[in-house]
Structures are given as structure tokens and as C-alpha cells.
């Protein structure tokens, strides 16, 4: 990511994937690192199943919690196809992290339209920094499939300037004690992936 005063991250995926929790943890880590940070999201209509996005903006002084089109430096898609929905938000040299998981929307379930199969190659032909990571598989390995969001945080953490210990402290605080350990494992797996 190129240097500018305020940077913007977009987390995108499907309701139920732990996106809002992940962006909360990210913001707390930024705050602990002494940065100004704002985030914005919309709590959707029904409880789950729809698109979920979270804008995170950080720097020395942040005004808007919402990024404008063409300004996102890092897109993290928790679901593969969702990456394609927000490309108009990205800068030309944005970094993209894509989770390999596919969750079918209703029109794909019903057989009306196919799931877009060549998402990754399309992204790679248009953006220089595209990383695919199977966070769901790594989460399973860590011992709890629900930690896929924290695996992705691990991957994100290697691109940001906060130390691993800041992240680990925040993760410990964010989960009840019995879940802290598996989430720290998941975080490390994401860092190593």
C-alpha cells in the first residue's frame, strides 16, 4: 500500500462469517497502536445471508468512516465471489486478499445462474497484488471452523504496521478465555499462510 495519511480497508462477505467481529478487532489493534480509526458498516435486514461490508479507515486524523469509490487500498473478501462486487471501490494498485470459500446466493442455488468460476484469474489479470487463502480450511485445522475470520486477520496483519503482540493482546481481549487460544492459533496460521 502506498503511503498516504489516511488508508482504507474494505472487508466484504456474507452475513454470519464474522466480518464485523474481525473489523472490530482490527480497529482495536489500530487504536492500541495510537492511530485514529473509524469504521462503518450496515447491519442488514434479516439476521443472515445477505452481503455484509465493513469500511475501516485509519491514519493520523480520520473524518469519514466511509471510503469513497476508487479509494480502497486493501480489499479482504471473506467469500470468493464477493470480491467482484466491490472492485469500483479499489485503487488501481490495491491489494486483494480472497478467501477460497464459496457460499452460493439464491440464484445460484436454484440453478438460474452459475457461480462465477474464474474470479481469481480475473482478479490476477487486473490487479498486481492478489492473494488467495483457504481460511476456512486453516480454521478447521486450528480446531474451530468459526475462526476463519481470525485466520484472515492473521493474513491482513502481515500487511499492516502493527506488531503481532498488539494484535494478540486485542484478540485475547475480544474472546472469552476458553476461545482465546484457538483464535491465537488461527491468527498465527493466517500470518504464516
Amino acid at each position: 500500500m502506498k503511503d498516504k495519511d489516511v488508508k482504507s480497508i474494505l472487508l466484504a462477505g456474507v452475513g454470519g462469517q464474522g466480518i464485523l467481529r474481525a473489523s472490530d478487532i482490527m480497529c482495536m489493534a489500530m487504536m492500541e497502536a495510537g492511530l485514529d480509526v473509524k469504521k462503518s458498516e450496515v447491519h442488514g435486514m434479516a439476521q443472515r445471508g445477505g452481503c455484509v461490508t465493513s469500511h475501516v479507515r485509519y491514519g493520523s486524523k480520520v473524518y469519514s468512516p466511509l471510503a469513497k469509490l476508487g479509494s480502497i487500498d486493501l480489499l479482504v473478501a471473506f467469500e470468493k465471489m464477493e470480491t467482484l462486487r466491490y472492485l469500483n471501490y479499489l485503487t488501481k494498485d490495491a491489494t486483494i486478499i480472497v478467501n477460497a470459500e464459496e457460499i452460493y446466493p439464491p440464484a445460484v442455488n436454484s440453478g438460474e445462474v452459475p457461480y462465477p468460476k474464474d474470479a481469481i484469474s480475473f482478479l490476477k489479470s487486473n490487479y498486481k497484488q492478489v492473494r488467495e487463502i483457504d481460511a476456512t480450511a486453516l480454521a478447521k485445522q486450528s480446531g474451530n471452523i468459526k475462526t476463519a475470520n481470525v485466520v484472515l486477520l492473521g493474513a491482513i496483519s502481515t500487511l499492516l504496521h502493527m506488531t503481532a503482540s498488539i494484535w494478540e493482546d486485542v484478540i485475547k481481549k475480544a474472546f472469552p478465555e476458553k476461545l482465546a487460544k484457538v483464535n491465537l492459533t488461527a491468527f498465527q496460521m493466517g500470518r504464516d499462510a
Binding site: V6, V14, G15, D24, C27, M28, M31, D36, V37, K38, K39, S40, E41, V42, H43, G44, M45, A46, Q47, R48, G49, G50, C51, V62, Y63, S64, P65, L66, A67, K68, L69, G70, S71, M81, E82, L84, R85, L87, N88, Y104, P105, P106, A107, V108, N109, S110, G111, E112, V113, Y115, P116, A119, F122, N126, Y127
Partner: protein, 586 residues
């Protein structure tokens, strides 16, 4: 101490820090979390009222008794509460009264996009509008101060972006609670019969004049003179969007959006060359400023609809079109859907199959208007399903017999369905009303209501018996069905539609996400690929785990594919098993 807080958490904190211990609300996005967070503070009285009108009246009563009280609602909730609102403006508040309206530009979770700043002007009530969580916390305290000082209700307007964004907030020690409650009699002020109200009416105008003077020096109406070529007059979240892209221009940021400080605005106009008024939705500030004879640019270049972002403001002022050459690839939409195992699915599947006209209401079930369920055909506001079903059935006469059904959730029924149902009994309706009783307020996130048996503070409460209530309203045909049982649900609805006079069917099963119901998930179901003929009937349920898998055609078979059930998503509700004619699901 500094912590990361949402606007709603910060508002709740602000209410607590202000020493306020009395709040009433009805849940509604984007306002819901304010009450949920507030109720967690030590020593507060908090209640979910049955609707916003009641919530406001409860808060008015508390204020009349000398309390500092707050009523919290979403923008359309203020419509419900509008009746007491307009007259509490006349009576004043005695203690203190703040009303939160959480507006929803872009209709993220609402049926309309109304700009509730208009209510401030309409009801002659001052309104503050914070731009971020820190301001939200501070403005609440100021709102209570203004309420006490001017004996007036005060609005605090939030928007979805303020309520649901998070930022770093500094906490302060809460003011101690001071018990100033007592009973005071003041009929001239509180009995709004014409003779008294005419006198109070004059007081309201005096108060507005005083508030206008106050606004001139109000600490949160702030001028920032930088580059004098461009001056921006704005309020709330759009201030942040504008500062993000035009940090060097001059600003007049209005913390109080009604009444406006005319002298301050003229003073600002004298200091800058070109003025833009940047506001989402209606030209509320713009029209008033133009009426002062000040030349400004507003809705000529900024949209009337939807929320803004920094790019919209930048492009409008710089006259830029949208950026070009963005890589794009079309992808299917991902609308929100009823959850796997949702009790509404079986009911709306049945309503679709019966080819009825279904007047709908506000709740998760509204989503069943979409394909493939398509089991709901109108949605206007809370409670409208019942009055509309009755109106349609009366207008259609014989043509409508057995064809009109109104559907409403349990929380929504309690909110505003009782009166129209009484009307149906009284005026001899022929429609059938179905109450989808899932034992909670599901859409906004499982809030308690009078039918759940608990209060927001976790205390045991009465548990409204819907059957007894409906019977007391004069409805004689009352049936209860389990929407997981498709055959019986269909039979009962058909029987009730055939009867003369109104019927109520209670479709009863707890929300699948409702923890207190302690629902044991059933074994996930599977499709037997040998038995599945690929008829796609199960796909008509629109259940997220069920998908279509295309297959190579086998010679002599018409089958083009089969259904597949994702065992990680399926909760075993058994609806697909009931609709499959080939026993292919087990």
C-alpha cells in the same frame, strides 16, 4: 479512558453520563442498540414499550413527574409517536425530555427515507445532530441541558452512518442521579383543551424565539474559516464526508439543525465567497438559508436521495463524472434470505401455493415477497397488513371471498395490530389474519415484548396470551398451526378462508435463532441421488442449504441434475422432506 464505540453505544453512554435513568423505546434499525446498551448500565429504568407512541407517552409521563427521560425510536417510529409529539411541544416537559430519531438515508433497513428534521420544524421542537460517536455522546448531554433550560422536548437526530459507525470515544464519569420526582398539579400547562392550548401556543412561539437566540451562541454551531473562496454549511455525518475531501475549505458546522442561527449564518456568508449547503435527503437547511436571502448552492448539484459519501460530494463540487475503466464482472445478487429452519418459510410456501393475495407487514417475513416464495404482496408500515386486508376484502366483496389474507408478526401485532383486528370483528370482515408468532422480535435481533414473558431488564413479566386477546377482540374463529407441518397449515388456512366472518390463524413456532427456546437442531437431511428425479420442487422453498447440481444427462432419462443439501447449513426442519414426492430426502 478512550474506547472504540458505535454511535448507538455512545448515545447510550451519553444518556448515562447525563445522569438520566429513565428510557423507553421500541426497537427499529438503526436505533435498536441504543436501548440495548443503555439497559446494561447500573440503576437505570429501561423498557421496551409496545410501540413508539407508548414509549413517548411513557417518557412524557416520567418527565411530568420530574424525571429526565428519553424516548428512542427509528425515523418511521416518530410517525407512530407523532400524536403526543406535537402536543408535548405545547405543554413543555417539567423534568426533561429528549427524543431520539434514528433516520435511515439509503433505506438500508426501512420502508421509506423520510427526513425527520422536518418534524423539528413541524412540531416546533429544537433538534441537535451529531456527526460522529464522540459528538453523539456529548450532544445528548447538551440536549438534556436545553430541555431543562427551555422547558421543551429536544430531538437528537442520528442517521444510520452515525449510529452504526465506530470511532474512538473518550469516556467521562457519569453525573450522579438526582431524584427530583414529585407530583405537581398544573392544569393550565398540562391539560391541553382549547382554552389552555391557545395560551400555550403563544408560549411555543416565544420559546422558539428564545431558542433562535440561543442557537446564535450555541457551542456546537461552529465556524472554521480557512480558504475563504469556498464556504460549506453542513451538519451531521456529511460534515465528515466533506472534510475528508475538502479539508482546506471554510465550514459552518451546525450542531443544532433547528432552529437555525440566522446571524451566525449571515456572518459566515460575509466571510466566504461561494457557499455550498451539503445535506442528505431534503433541502432542509438550504431552503431556510435561501429564505434569508443568502445565495447558496445545494440540491442543484447534490442528490436528494440516498446517503452521501466523500466521493459524491467531491464529484458534485468538482463536476466530475464517475471514474472510468474499472474492471468489472457481472455476479449474481445476494439478497438477505430467511434462515435455514425459519418458521416463516413453511407458511409462505403454503400461501403461495394457495394463490392468495397476502397483505404483509414489517418483519423478517417481508423477505418472502422475493422469489421463489413470493408469498407476500404488500408492505406499507407496522400493522398495515390487517387494516389493508380488511379494506381489500370489503372493496372486492364476493370477488375477494377466500382470497385475502393479512400476515403480521407477534411483535408487530402487539405494536399496532390490535386496533385494526378489533375493527375487523366490529365491521364484519371476511379476511383471514395470520399472526406469525415466533416468540420474539426477530428482525431487529431478539428483543423482548409483552408476549415473551420477560422485560429488557431480564425480569419475569406477564406473557400475553394471543388466543385470549384475539378472542376478547371479538374474533370467533381462532386456530393455531405449526408452520413446520405443511399439510395441516394448508388445511387450516383453507378451512378458515371458506368461513364467513374474520378468522385468525396463529402460526406458532419460535425463531430458529431464539436462544431461550433451546431448540435442538435436528439431524441435517440429505438427498438420495438415486431417487431424486431433479424435479426442483424442493428448490421452491428457497432454503439456503438446498442447491441445484447440474449433471450429465443419462440416456433414457429426462433428469438434468439433482438437488443437493449442504449439511453444514441444514438444520433438519423437514420442510423439503414434506414437499418431495419421490421420498428422495432422508
Amino acid at each position: 479512558m478512550k474506547i472504540l464505540m458505535s454511535g448507538n453505544e455512545a448515545i447510550a453512554r451519553g444518556v448515562y453520563e447525563a445522569g438520566v435513568r429513565f428510557a423507553a423505546a421500541y426497537p427499529g434499525t438503526p436505533s435498536t442498540e441504543i436501548m440495548e446498551e443503555y439497559s446494561k448500565y447500573e440503576g437505570v429504568y429501561a423498557e421496551w414499550s409496545p410501540n413508539e407512541k407508548v414509549a413517548l407517552e411513557v417518557a412524557i409521563g416520567a418527565a411530568l413527574a420530574g424525571e429526565k427521560a428519553i424516548a428512542i425510536m427509528k425515523h418511521v417510529g416518530v410517525n407512530v409517536a407523532a400524536d403526543p409529539l406535537f402536543t408535548v411541544s405545547y405543554t413543555g416537559t417539567n423534568g426533561a425530555l429528549v427524543i431520539i430519531t434514528a433516520d435511515d438515508p439509503s433505506l438500508h433497513s426501512s420502508q421509506n427515507e423520510q427526513d425527520n428534521r422536518n418534524y423539528a420544524r413541524f412540531a416546533k421542537i429544537p433538534m441537535l445532530e451529531p456527526a460522529d460517536p464522540q459528538e453523539a455522546k456529548e450532544f445528548i448531554k447538551l440536549a438534556f441541558e436545553i430541555s431543562e433550560k427551555f422547558d421543551t422536548p429536544v430531538f437528537l437526530r442520528s442517521t444510520t452512518r452515525v449510529s452504526h459507525s465506530k470511532a474512538v470515544v473518550s469516556l467521562e464519569d457519569p453525573l450522579p442521579y438526582q431524584d427530583k420526582t414529585n407530583i405537581t398539579y398544573n392544569s393550565a400547562k398540562f391539560v391541553m383543551v382549547p382554552a389552555n392550548a391557545r395560551i400555550r401556543r403563544v408560549e411555543v412561539e416565544k420559546r422558539m424565539q428564545n431558542l433562535k437566540e440561543f442557537a446564535e451562541s450555541f457551542s456546537e454551531n461552529k465556524m472554521e474559516i480557512n480558504n475563504p473562496d469556498v464556504g460549506i454549511i453542513t451538519a451531521g455525518m456529511p460534515y465528515n464526508y466533506a472534510k475528508d475531501v475538502f479539508p482546506d475549505y471554510s465550514y459552518l458546522k451546525l450542531g443544532m439543525v433547528y432552529p437555525l442561527p440566522e446571524k451566525l449564518i449571515r456572518n459566515f456568508a460575509d466571510k466566504v465567497k461561494n457557499i455550498y449547503v451539503i445535506e442528505e435527503l431534503d433541502p432542509f437547511l438550504e431552503e431556510q438559508i435561501k429564505a434569508m436571502g443568502i445565495k447558496v448552492i445545494g440540491k442543484e448539484i447534490f442528490p436528494y436521495t440516498n446517503e452521501f459519501d466523500p466521493g459524491i460530494i467531491q464529484n458534485a463540487i468538482n463536476k466530475l463524472d464517475k471514474p472510468e475503466n474499472i474492471p468489472a464482472k457481472s455476479i449474481p445478487p445476494r439478497p438477505p434470505n430467511l434462515c435455514p429452519g425459519c418458521p416463516h418459510r413453511g407458511l409462505f410456501y403454503t400461501l403461495n401455493k394457495l394463490k392468495l393475495f397476502v397483505t404483509g407487514d414489517i418483519g423478517c417475513y417481508t423477505l418472502s415477497y422475493m422469489k421463489p416464495l413470493e408469498g407476500l404482496h404488500s408492505c406499507i408500515c407496522m400493522g398495515a397488513s390487517i387494516g389493508m386486508a380488511h379494506g381489500m376484502s370489503k372493496a372486492l366483496k364476493e370477488k375477494g371471498k377466500g382470497k385475502i389474507v393479512g400476515v403480521i408478526g407477534d411483535s408487530t401485532f402487539i405494536h399496532s395490530g390490535i386496533t385494526p383486528l378489533l375493527n375487523m370483528a366490529y365491521n364484519k370482515s371476511n379476511a383471514v389474519i395470520i399472526i406469525c408468532d415466533n416468540s420474539t422480535t426477530a428482525m431487529t435481533g431478539m428483543q423482548e415484548h409483552p408476549g415473551t414473558g420477560y422485560t429488557i431488564l431480564g425480569e419475569k413479566a406477564i406473557q400475553l396470551d394471543l388466543k385470549v386477546l384475539v378472542s376478547a377482540l371479538g374474533i370467533q374463529n381462532i386456530r393455531v398451526v405449526d408452520p413446520y407441518d405443511l399439510k395441516n397449515t394448508r388445511t387450516v388456512i383453507k378451512e378458515e378462508l371458506a368461513k364467513d366472518g374474520p378468522s385468525v390463524v396463529i402460526s406458532k413456532r419460535p425463531c430458529v435463532l431464539f436462544k431461550r427456546a433451546k431448540l435442538q437442531p435436528q439431524k441435517p437431511l440429505q438427498v438420495d441421488p438415486d431417487k431424486c428425479t431433479g424435479c426442483k420442487v424442493c428448490l421452491g422453498l428457497g432454503c439456503p442449504p438446498i442447491s441445484w447440481k447440474k449433471m450429465e444427462k443419462i440416456e433414457g432419462s429426462k433428469r438434468e441434475g439433482i438437488s443437493v443439501i449442504d449439511e453444514n447449513l441444514c438444520n433438519g426442519c423437514g420442510l423439503c422432506l414434506q414437499v418431495c414426492k419421490f421420498n428422495a430426502i432422508y
